[in-house]
């Protein structure tokens, strides 16, 4: 275990593949590589499996090029590279629930070219979740996914098993929101980097273990003394971000990241499954209703007000867009979302992220942005 209150989360993150191998050895269960946070994890957990979200490694790589376009987003290319390099050689299966076309290409290359994968499942999901037909369609797809898992494991995924899994995952969501509540306070007792570690590890650690650790940390937080300066309160906006070096840098130059709208953070856990007597329907509806990824946010841009409310509720003074290069859905939202935030008095900064990022130039941009916010002090 790492040091400090959040040391376990950090250790899990830094040794995430070791954790999955160890989990497999001690439980005998299957590990499933999940691509995209629209995956209905409740089904996998009910089937006794460990969902492990595929993340990149932020290292230069040269293996993905034959299988995916160079102008597909760096997260796609990095995620594919991790499979091709054998980093997920413990994963028995791989699954994707439809979000963006680029990540689907990464998934398709995974299932064709990662030899250790024994099975794969593509779960279609409506991108037009605002359609009146969307929930019915997605309930149907989640049912089909359940049938697939039942055949694969020879084990019935009945209401009791699904409800138990829903309970575990919902508890994880509640605990992460409770952790995020501390970020509303002045000089929060949870830094942005710590929150990233907590939210990211929820996406590959056994939820029961993760819940226990969250409870321990949340119980200790009220007595925590923060010795760092708060600085400017920032929000981060984007798709996946686990560039922890970047987050650490931002929080070392006079800022605290107090909230995010990212699938590696709040979008992953924000809303719960509402149990209603039909577990599959409840699970499917939850994913249709969750804070939207830009791929599933039209014709109405529901996320614009959601993002603004988050910024206001968490008292963010400014927002930083962490834009994965070539991520068309987020790039499409950017101009209007920027205007939406700035019209409400929240200045923004745009940074373009690649597999590896130039931390020096990024530092200058962050510092310059903070200077523009603190201009009355400086000038």
């Amino acid at each position: 275990m790492g040091s400090g209150l959040f040391g376990q989360f950090t250790a899990w993150y830094e040794r995430r593949h070791d954790y999955a191998r160890d989990w497999k050895a001690r439980t005998g269960g299957q590990v499933v590589a999940t691509m995209c946070t629209y995956t209905p994890e409740e089904l996998l957990i009910a089937a006794g499996m460990l969902p492990v979200r595929v993340l990149g490694a932020h290292e230069p790589q040269n293996v993905s090029e034959p299988h995916i376009f160079g102008m597909f987003c760096p997260f796609c290319r990095d995620s594919l590279a991790q499979g091709l390099l054998g980093r997920f050689d413990y994963a028995d299966g791989v699954t994707l629930t439809q979000s963006c076309i680029q990540y689907r290409q990464a998934f398709d290359a995974w299932r064709r070219h990662v030899p250790s994968v024994q099975w794969d499942y593509y779960c279609p999901m409506p991108n037009d979740v605002q359609s009146r037909h969307a929930k019915a369609a997605h309930r149907h797809e989640v049912r089909r996914f359940r049938e697939f898992l039942e055949q694969l494991t020879g084990r019935a995924l009945d209401e009791a098993a699904l409800n138990e899994a829903i309970g575990v995952v919902n508890e994880n969501r509640r605990l992460l929101r409770a952790l995020y509540e501390f970020r509303k306070e002045a000089n929060p007792k949870v830094t942005g980097l710590e929150a990233v570690y907590a939210a990211l590890t929820a996406q590959f650690v056994d939820k029961r273990e993760h819940n226990a650790e969250l409870k321990r940390v949340i119980a200790a937080l009220p007595d925590r003394e923060m010795e760092r300066e708060e600085g400017v309160r920032l929000m981060t906006i984007g798709s996946e971000n686990d560039d922890c070096g970047f987050m650490a840098m931002v929080e070392s130059v006079g800022a605290t990241i107090v909230i995010d709208d990212q699938c590696s953070g709040s979008r992953y856990f924000w809303n719960e499954v509402k149990v209603n007597g039909d577990a599959v329907a409840a699970i499917a509806d939850r994913y249709c209703e969750r804070p939207a990824c830009p791929t599933k946010d039209y014709p109405e841009h529901t996320r614009f007000d959601h993002v603004l409310k988050l910024a206001q509720n968490y008292k963010a003074q400014a927002a930083v867009f962490l834009q994965q290069k070539f991520c068309d859905p987020h790039e499409g939202d950017y101009p209007d979302l920027k205007r939406h935030l700035e019209a409400a008095g929240i200045p923004t900064l745009f940074l373009e992220f690649d597999i590896t990022n130039p931390i020096g130039p990024f530092r200058i941009r962050i510092e310059a942005f903070l200077e523009t916010l603190r201009e009355d002090d400086l000038f």
Binding site: E352, P358, G360, P361, I364, E371, T372, L378, F379
Partner: protein, 269 residues
């Protein structure tokens, strides 16, 4: 009080010493430049280079270190200036320095050796927005320098020769190395040197202009940084930006160092 600004650029170190002059009847602080110095850090020791540049600037102004009330640093190596009182980013320093020369400045274009940036300011010398080049030097001075080498011309000749051309040859390469290949192809096809020089400077200006458009182009436009000395680039940039005039300060590569010294003076006054 005497203050100092030191700009640790990627290629050169610039120092400005500034003294506030009490001009009777003047509404605000007035400043005179006491001394300035530019040097090339020859041995890659940025720490020693900062020290040496500062000492030489002091010597030229007949001052010792004790006479300087505050030293502010900026530039890529600003954290390496151990004797600095404080540091600010190039955006804040550039906005402050350029606004000192031209209070009417609203858009500042700063093109140095390896970075180009556009800075918006509101007239008070505050940087309100900015955009910069990332991971690529094709919109900066070192690109023009590499191309002048390929043409076997000095930078001065390179800039001046482009003014003699009225051709527009598009350069499509996204990176310095590939662009050099394009230059070589043009040489092989017997394209006059001045046309190639203009093609290169038009390409640099186009990249810089695209970047500045991200923050918006409002008059007055001020160009700072070493590329001001490249007359061909200035013309190409003016054409690309579609403005009637680009204001050029007298000591363009010192503007950010001056901005630092001004910030040190106004904050410590």
């Amino acid at each position: 009080m005497i203050t100092a600004g030191i700009d640790m650029g990627s290629r050169t170190v610039k120092v400005v010493l500034l003294e506030d002059a009490k001009v009777e009847g003047a509404p605000a602080l007035q400043f005179v430049v006491k001394g300035k110095h530019l040097m090339f850090p020859g041995d890659l020791d940025a720490d020693a280079a900062a020290d040496q540049a500062f000492e030489e600037a002091l010597a030229s102004a007949g001052l010792d270190r004790g006479a300087v009330g505050a030293v502010y640093a900026t530039g890529a190596g600003r954290k390496m200036v151990k004797f600095a009182t404080d540091s600010v980013t190039e955006m804040s320093a550039g906005a402050k320095g350029a606004s000192f020369f031209y209070p009417s400045a609203r858009t500042i274009v700063d093109v140095g050796a390896e970075e180009g940036r556009g800075i918006k300011t509101d007239g008070s010398g505050k940087a309100t927005d900015f955009a910069g080049n990332e991971k690529c030097a094709a919109g900066a001075g070192s690109f023009a320098e590499a191309m002048s080498r390929a043409l076997q011309m000095s930078l001065k000749e390179f800039g001046e020769s482009s003014l003699r051309s009225d051709r527009s040859i598009p350069m499509n390469a996204q990176c310095t190395v590939f662009a050099e290949s394009e230059v070589v192809s043009l040489i092989h096809s017997s394209t006059p040197k001045e046309d190639i020089a203009k093609a290169v400077l038009d390409a640099v200006a186009s990249r810089v202009c695209a970047m500045v458009r991200r923050v918006g182009i409002d008059n007055d436009v001020v160009l700072i940084g070493g590329m001001v000395h490249n007359t061909g680039f200035v013309k190409s940039l003016q054409t690309a930006m579609g403005v009637d005039e680009i204001k050029l300060p007298d000591m363009p590569e010192y503007v950010s160092a001056l901005g630092c010294a001004l910030l040190a003076a106004t904050q410590r006054a």
